[in-house]
Amino acid sequence: MASSTDARRLTLPEIRIGRVLAVLAAVAFWGWLLTRWINDWVLARIGIGPGAGVHFLEAEPFETTAERLAASADAYGPFAGVVDWVGSVVGAVGVAVDIAPVLAVGAWYTIVLTVVSIVLGLLIAVPLSLVRVYGGPFRWLALGYIELIRGTPLLAQLFVLYFGLPFAVWLHGVETIGQGPIPDQAFIIAVVGFTINSSAYQAEYIRGALESVDRGQLTAARSVGLSQLEGLRFVVMPQTLRYAIPAWTNELVYLIKYSSLAAFITVPELYYRASRIASRTFEHTAIYASIAIVYLAIVLTATVLMSRVEREVAIPGLGQAEGRHQGKTEGERE
């Protein structure tokens, strides 16, 4: 007889079904998104396919079904509420289908904004965290930057960049920006803002990981003749970046969602486009539920990819958190 613990454990077929469903969902989502982008910006230009922004599916059948269900709900007696609810779900699907092309373009902006900002932010965060920990008298400078950025609201930072500084004027004359997939100046300012903001947070995550690498290893690197900088580059950093992956994934997830603040400086990303449509059509629930699903899909994809990266680069023999100290004694004092 199966014990109670066995009963609660997922069986192999169940896990497989879960995986299959997840893979199917991922294929459907990314398949749709990539097809949209290619259709709108490549195929439509050369006259193939339905054309830029034209629906793949018709919203009409969903809308009429929803209307019919709503109209006949009363006839179902005690089930009227359920039928009514099903009707509104079908209606929401209709709305989603209707706004899907716009969401695809918005998702493009959201993803590019996030990816570019987090990568640029990382490039700043690595030296920043090194200065913060090993920078001697410059530590206070790094600390000041980090605390200033982390201590002020992101939205305020974006506003200062957008309204307070003359970036918009500098970028105005450039011809190619703002065309098709190429973003306009508000977008570039948003990238600058998110880069600065996430660099401060990433620097703190990396600092934490940096401090978990035994200082003795840097001493050992110097004892074979590597300079301090080479020791950091070849010994400390490769380990630090591995240990930082879980926290860094958190930052990536935050940034995906916080990128919606770019809407306030008119960047036409997901949230901006959705809120514009919502204020016109008043279909708030359906529209925000739709973008919630898009955000969720992007976030889950990012999480899965990062945990795969983490597994890929894991140091053999070392668990995720244990085993960072090798000897039985404390690390050496510097």
Binding site: D214, G225, L226, I315, G317, L318, G323, Q326, G331, E332
Partner: protein, 261 residues
């Protein structure tokens, strides 16, 4: 270039005749208000093994770190092969190549295999090519009995194996002098033996060594001389037989009894 090399070698030979390989001269050092050294003098001849003993906190580790300038001295001078290495303008990274160091807490590079632990210095410091460095690393690892473990990561090795990788890593740089800071004290006794064997072979091969250890057997068999450090000074120094059997100072006898029973 070649002429210069020969010149250097001549100088080295000339120096070797008059100079001990390592000469520590009137070294003073303090950390804040804590005076760690009050005038340390110590000479280690080429091919000799000097064992350094002393109570905890007497500055044994600090002295080793001063020799390869992981810690800077306040006053005095240290000469390696006749060269004053404690000068502000001496090339520190070059000095460190010539002085190998083995640590109590081993400090292997955790993200690199045993082989990569050895090749890192060869590639980055000595400018070896990839295959050249690899061959050299494999030879060094074979010498410490780790031919089978070249592709293992530190976390997959026992303490004794890790410490032998640490020794191979230092030896690959062709050092003139090896510093050992309690290389076995973090290891279980069974695991210490493999490390001590490697050290004994190194002694036989004529390596000059400055060793902090409380391993009685090693000190008796391998040391040419033992230095007892306390209170920031060399209290007593002499060959192991004399120091163990007939120490001049009462304090030395007390200390040796306290650690060797």
């Amino acid at each position: 270039m070649t002429a210069q090399r020969t010149d250097e070698r001549d100088n080295e030979r000339r120096r070797a005749e008059h100079e001990p390989l390592l000469r520590i001269e009137n070294v003073w050092k303090s950390f804040g208000t804590e005076q760690v050294f009050r005038g340390i003098d110590l000479e280690v001849d080429r091919g000799d093994v000097e064992v350094l003993v002393g109570p905890s906190g007497s500055g044994k580790s600090t002295l080793l770190r001063c020799v390869n300038r992981l810690t800077e001295i306040d006053e005095g001078a240290i000469y390696l092969d006749g060269e004053r290495v404690t000068d502000a303008d001496a090339n520190v990274n070059e000095l460190r190549q010539q002085v190998g160091m083995v640590f109590q807490d081993i400090n292997l590079f955790a993200h690199l295999t045993a082989r990569e632990n050895v090749t890192l210095g060869l590639r980055r410091v000595r400018g070896f090519g990839k295959s050249e460095a690899r061959d050299r690393a494999d030879r060094e690892l074979a010498n410490v009995g780790l031919s089978d473990q070249v592709d293992s990561y530190p976390a997959q090795l026992s303490g004794g194996q890790k410490q032998r990788v640490g020794i191979a890593r230092a030896l690959a740089m062709d050092p003139k002098l090896m510093l050992f800071d309690e290389p076995t004290s973090a290891l279980d006794p069974e695991l210490s033996n493999s490390v001590l064997e490697v050290m004994e072979r190194l002694v036989e091969a004529g390596m000059t060594m400055l060793v902090v250890t409380h391993e009685m057997r090693f000190a008796r068999s391998a040391a040419d001389s033992i230095t007892f450090l306390e209170g920031g000074q060399v209290v007593e120094r002499g060959p192991p037989e004399r120091l163990f059997e007939r120490p001049e100072r009462e304090r030395t006898r007390e200390f040796l009894e306290s650690i060797y029973g």
